[in-house]
């Protein structure tokens, strides 16, 4: 059975790694951090590959592990020691030359300024399109907590976006004279 579980897991990684990496990127804001987070979480899943191959879809488990690892405070501190926040080299490439999105890196920088739980809720709600109940299950918290993180996170993000003078983005721009 182990060979089959291996194949199943590899197939999963092949088909879902791009998506999971993007999720990691939104959760961490850094390419190097995202790569590291993805590897850590996939190794954890690899250990359980036989059990996971019996599920219909291993993604909810991996997603949950990733979000929780990203929130984990100890791990965050450890990451901070390794990568200073202003590590320019590891940033996502700035500025889209076409100009439709003036600074597509902006949203990553703004998200990084939010507390990790608020950030996770916004990413799961608005990028993963998960229903609130599913977000609550992923984070292991109540529906009410998801709602409050979501509204506080949105409000804070709106504030931050509005205070970005170079920003061409978002409806917050309209509030800037």
């Amino acid at each position: 059975m182990s060979r089959l579980a291996d194949e199943f897991f590899e197939d999963f990684v092949r088909s879902r790694s791009a998506h999971l990496y993007q999720l990691a990127l939104l959760l961490t804001g850094h390419q190097a951090d995202a790569q590291d987070l993805l590897q850590v979480v996939l190794e954890r899943a690899y250990r359980r590959r036989s059990a996971l191959s019996r599920d219909v879809d291993p993604e909810p488990y991996v997603r949950k592990a990733m979000v929780n690892a990203a929130i984990d405070r100890r791990r965050l501190l450890w990451r901070r020691r390794e990568h200073p926040l202003d590590d320019a080299e590891n940033r996502v490439e700035p500025s889209d030359p076409i100009g439709q999105v003036a600074d597509r890196d902006l949203v990553l920088r703004l998200l990084a300024l939010l507390p990790p739980r608020q950030r996770s809720v916004l990413v799961l709600r608005f990028w993963e399109d998960l229903p609130e109940a599913e977000v609550a299950k992923t984070l292991g918290c109540s529906l009410g907590t998801v709602k409050s993180h979501s509204s506080r996170g949105l409000a804070r993000l709106r504030e931050l976006a509005g205070s970005q003078p170079g920003s061409q983005l978002g409806p917050a721009r309209a509030e800037v004279p």
Binding site: M1, Q22, E59, L130, A133
Partner: protein, 648 residues
């Protein structure tokens, strides 16, 4: 969705859209894993214990995005067919041969697994008839938040990574399901959905959408039925109860709760439909030449009088499909060989592997019994039963008198009917309108007799109670077919024992059902007193809507399936309760009460429940069997995505 939320969504998408992890991710994961193993092994004994705890037990496993143990890939599966499928377009497709092939190229939100099911009481039958996720990532329930508003709203999340075999491959989306339902009431020749009632009765706004479409094409405007006009209508009208909330979220709003709604969505009518199909008229030859697939196999352009060829679909991934597999390399269906005996000898000699649309004839059953490639699987149907025409004026309205009908219930020798179909292992006696294996089934036998051979004494007594002391003569209608003739002979012989004389009228099948169903309209209500009919449900388990409601709800209209115009307000009420039940448990109670009342009224005489014999060539393999194949009840035949060919 506020403007800001929309901005956030778009910005996040744009920020990560073309970002991919570095190459060699799997290698990195394995290296980390090995290093971790070394660290653990180097520490104390407790770490070893931990390792032991995560080593899983090997176990066999069926379905779930994984291959079966011992399965091997490759080879060509060869199928022989008399007339082949009726349709490839999933909207009109409503025939066993259609379903068997659709399994390979058209996926639904939810579906059924194919597992060996040796008896109706086994876990296998439960598995075969319970829905599991297909393109949906999970089966919605109240508990997981997928069923809300008191059972009236169903929300589905689609699997990411399930693709159409377009170039490049493209994600199957919620809109692909909306498109399918919008195509249900199209006016293209033969394109109308196989069964609209199930959906129009349950989904908000579908009936009015269909009325508007009918006016668009046949009302005062009379738009010509072209692909462009069909798609123009579909794109300018909405079905209020079906909404693509976002590309991967689909929401249905129902008129009333329906505990069997998931069964309706598991029917192949509710498959995903790619936007490319909008270029062609539904059910057209052009569409059949451009079929797309989201399943493990793709259909070569269909050319009439040529074999149908299905090949592995490179865009399909096992990890996105918990029920299907991609074992054989190619599937070829040869059409036009309609002699059953020849087909069977072709299978025995290995020229073909499976039969698509031909039943194993009764006279072949004895010769096949004991062969490892031959199995008889359970089914739960009313094949056949006798229906009383309650509108018939014949013999002083004999058929409308309950005591006459009860006399016949007692009089029929069901053991003789079993022999007609090949014996008790092929035909189980039905003593109720709810065969074993249906939800709410209760052991009910209100007209018992020793060995099910009929009770002539009770038959005579009930006939006398109705005032027919010197017997009665009734008209018996059946299709012109040797099996139907044999059933008639058996019924006639058994009823003769209590003074009921039958005169039969055998009609060609194209006249038979219209005559049965249209009696009250065509001015010949005396055309029959007893009809010989059969009923196979469209799904199994929670199947009241597709059996009891179809057969016994008051509906004396043209083309009714309540052939005898039976009508009882108490039964109608219980049927409504069954259809609108929020839970299967509530539905079960309602359907049981329908069965009890219908049997008490003696509206029909249940005869037998035909089981499903199926034969394969010696080289076909399926999980859980030494040889031969499983009969998947919801397909009405073998599951070609579950089979492999032995190398030996």
């Amino acid at each position: 969705m506020s403007e800001f939320e929309e901005w956030l969504r778009r910005s996040m998408d744009a920020a990560v859209a073309d970002q991919a992890p570095p190459n060699g991710l799997m290698r990195q994961v394995r290296r980390r894993h090995t290093q971790r193993g070394i660290r653990l092994a180097a520490s104390a004994g407790s770490a070893m214990l931990l390792l032991a705890a995560v080593v899983p037990l090997a176990r066999t496993w069926h379905g779930g995005g994984q291959q079966h143990a011992g399965a091997s890939g490759g080879g060509v599966l060869r199928i022989v067919a008399a007339s082949g499928p009726d349709h490839f377009d999933p909207v009109p497709a409503y025939y066993t041969a259609d379903y068997i092939l659709e399994r390979a190229y058209a996926r639904q939100l939810v579906t059924y697994r194919t597992v060996p099911d040796p008896s109706l009481t086994s876990a296998g039958w439960q598995h075969d008839t319970s829905v599991v996720p297909d393109l949906a990532s999970q089966v919605p329930t109240v508990r997981n938040g997928g069923i809300t508003s008191g059972g009236r709203v169903y929300t589905f999340h689609l699997r990411r990574g399930a693709d159409w075999n377009t170039i490049p491959a493209r994600q199957v989306t919620a809109s692909d399901f909306v498109r399918e339902f919008k195509a249900f009431c199209n006016d293209a020749p033969g394109g109308f959905v196989g069964n609209l009632n199930y959906y129009a009765d349950t989904i908000s706004g579908l009936a009015s959408y269909c009325r508007a479409e009918s006016i668009f094409f046949s009302g005062t405007h009379k738009h010509p039925v072209t692909a462009a006009n069909v798609v123009a209508f579909q794109n300018s009208h909405t079905i209020s109860g079906i909404v693509a909330v976002n590309p991967l979220t689909l929401r249905f709003r129902l008129i009333k709760p329906a505990s069997d709604f998931l069964n309706l969505l598991a029917l192949p009518f509710a498959s995903a439909r790619p936007v490319e199909y909008d270029r062609y008229l539904p059910n057209s030859a052009q569409l059949d030449r451009h079929l797309l697939s989201d399943g493990p196999y793709a259909v070569d352009p269909v050319v009439s009088n040529k074999p149908i060829v299905l090949r592995r679909n490179p865009a399909w991934r096992q990890s996105t499909d918990p029920v299907r597999h991609q074992y054989v390399r190619k599937i070829v269906v040869d059409i036009g060989l309609d002699d059953a005996a020849t087909q069977i000898s072709d299978l025995r000699q290995g020229r073909y592997d499976l039969m698509l649309d031909t039943d194993v004839p009764v006279n072949e059953l004895a010769g096949l019994a004991g062969s490892p490639e031959f199995h008889v699987w359970p089914n739960a149907n009313m094949m056949p039963y006798l229906v009383f025409n309650l509108r018939s004026p014949n013999a002083r309205h004999a058929a409308s008198q309950r005591d006459v009908r009860r006399a016949i219930e007692f009089g029929v020798d069901k053991a003789a009917i079993q022999r007609v179909f090949g014996g008790p292992s092929i035909a189980k006696v039905n003593t109720s309108v709810q065969p074993a294996g249906t939800l709410g089934h209760i052991a009910l036998d209100p007209y018992p007799s020793a060995g099910n051979r009929g009770n002539a004494t009770k038959c005579k007594a009930d006939l006398a109670a109705a005032g027919y002391h010197s017997g009665v003569t009734l008209k018996f209608l059946h299709a012109r077919d040797s099996l139907d003739q044999a059933v008639f002979d058996a019924v006639k012989a058994s009823l003769a024992r209590c003074g009921i004389r039958l005169r039969n009228d055998a009609l060609a099948s194209q006249q038979f059902y219209p005559t049965l169903g249209n009696e009250s309209q065509n001015g010949k209500p005396g055309a029959f007193d007893i009809g010989l009919v059969g009923w196979l449900p469209d799904w199994f388990g929670n199947d009241g809507r597709t059996t009891l409601a179809a057969l016994f709800k008051t509906q004396c209209t043209e083309n009714t399936t309540n052939y005898g115009c039976y009508s009882n307000p108490k039964v109608d009420q219980a049927i409504s309760a069954g259809e609108q039940a929020r839970t299967p448990a509530q539905a079960a109670r309602a359907w049981a009460s329908v069965a009890r009342q219908v049997m008490s009224d003696a509206a029909v005489v249940p005869l037998t429940d035909l089981q499903s014999p199926i034969l394969s060539s010696a080289r076909v393999r399926e999980a859980g069997l030494r040889a031969g194949v499983v009969f998947a009840p919801n397909l009405g035949g073998p599951d070609i995505t579950n089979l492999w060919l032995s190398k030996g």
